[in-house]
Amino acid sequence: MTRTTIDLWVGFFVALGLAALLFLALKVGNLATSGSGETYAIEAKFDNIGGLKVRAPVKSAGVVVGRVSEIRFDPEAYQAVVKMQLDTRYRFPRDTFATINTSGLLGEQYIGFEPGGDTDMLKSGDVVKKTQSAVVLEKLISQFMFSKAAGDGTGSSKE
């Protein structure tokens, strides 16, 4: 095995390994889609964020327009403050309505934007005023159970 053949094989091997890394980064991971382009930050306060996590998508009309960058607790208002990075290509009116939704019954949670009619647009550092908390499934079920129990307190077999 001469030196040039070894160099050829080693070069081939390193190129193949780097190609595999590139494949993992671009095709398997989300390097191509995330972190591209300029973003601006806005905040929103929620009474309850449910299972929302950092890096969860922000969607409007089902299209991803940004990502959650930070979640913290406001100890004075006892509310969750969610910071989001939105793509600068997308502008939203000041009276945009932010809700926490779940994709599917058991899917991940995301923030949905429903644009209002204001002519002023949200700027970097603004706070979304109108928000709706996450729907907590257990609360819904317990509400349903209690109202059901209160409705037919006699316990008759009214199905």
Binding site: D7, A20, L21, F23, L24, K27, V28, G29, N30
Partner: protein
């Protein structure tokens, strides 16, 4: 009286045996640590005359390609089959891509590739250095004022460290392809959701980069154990064979233990 004396001698013998076993291991660990530092200090030659290291990358990396690629493909295919079987009970077969990619990139890629690498390349390095020692080639080098750590050990060490992350990345990539072949082509999971769900939940920094860091650490562990066991082997045929076995056992256990520690640091919290 004689009986008591005999029993006392037995106990003393046992304690001596225990103490000897423990101190021997601690001495060896200390020597291994000193050896590790020596490799770093003597690495100049390995980088200045890079063809030495390049040759070792060929022997430990290129020649391991076949086993890594084929086992990666099969592991991915098995993950595809097993994952589909479990996921279809919950009606979420589109998540197959996530399952295959995350388990490969985070755990199986680095760990299984490292185990294969330890038995394929680590044992070969130990046997080579051990035989060099047994046939007194290392002493001959010292006679000629050539430092065997700089000339023999360091290139093999760095060759292994360079090869390991590349092999692990290739293993993961082949595994994802294997999972794709079985999941999408054979079983018929929707191709679009397979890739898009995978891309949505595999994070470059958190998953892929951490996997690369893991395999880099494993590369250091395997190469270190392999060159040390070879260098420290008894210079006999039996000693070399025992050193080779020890390389595989020690580095496999060290990989699994290090994997637990690294995973605890990387993937808990947040």
């Amino acid at each position: 009286m004689d009986k008591v004396y005999k029993a006392g001698a037995k106990v003393a013998q046992f304690l001596q045996f225990l103490g000897n076993a423990v101190t021997k291991r601690i001495f060896r660990l200390g020597f291994a640590a000193r050896f590790f530092v020596a490799i770093f200090l003597q690495s100049g030659t390995a980088f200045r005359r890079f063809n030495l290291t390049s040759r070792e990358v060929y022997f430990s990396g290129v020649l391991s390609l076949i086993i890594i690629l084929v086992s990666g493909l099969f592991v991915g295919m098995v993950l595809g089959l097993q994952g589909y079987d479990t996921l279809q009970r919950y009606g979420s077969t589109e998540a197959l891509g996530i399952l295959v990619a995350l388990s490969l990139v985070r755990e199986l890629g680095p760990v299984v590739a490292a185990l294969l690498f330890a038995s394929r390349a680590g044992s070969a390095i130990t046997a080579e250095i051990g035989l060099m020692k047994a046939t007194e080639q290392l002493s001959a080098m010292e006679m000629m004022a050539v430092n065997p750590i700089a000339r023999v050990v360091a290139p093999r060490f760095w060759g292994g460290v360079v090869s390991m992350p590349l092999l692990a990345a290739l293993f993961s990539a082949m595994g994802v392809l294997g999972g794709y072949l079985v999941g999408v082509k054979l079983i018929g999971v929707d191709e679009g959701s397979f890739w898009s769900q995978m891309q949505a939940s595999v994070d470059f920094q958190k998953d892929i980069l951490n996997g690369v860091i893991k395999s880099f650490v494993f590369g250091i562990i395997i190469s270190w154990v392999a060159v040390f066991e070879g260098y420290d082997a008894d210079p006999t045929a039996e000693g070399v064979s025992r050193a080779t076995t020890r390389t595989v056992v020690t580095s496999s256990l060290a990989i699994l233990a290090a994997d637990f520690i690294l995973t605890a640091f990387m993937f808990t919290g947040a």
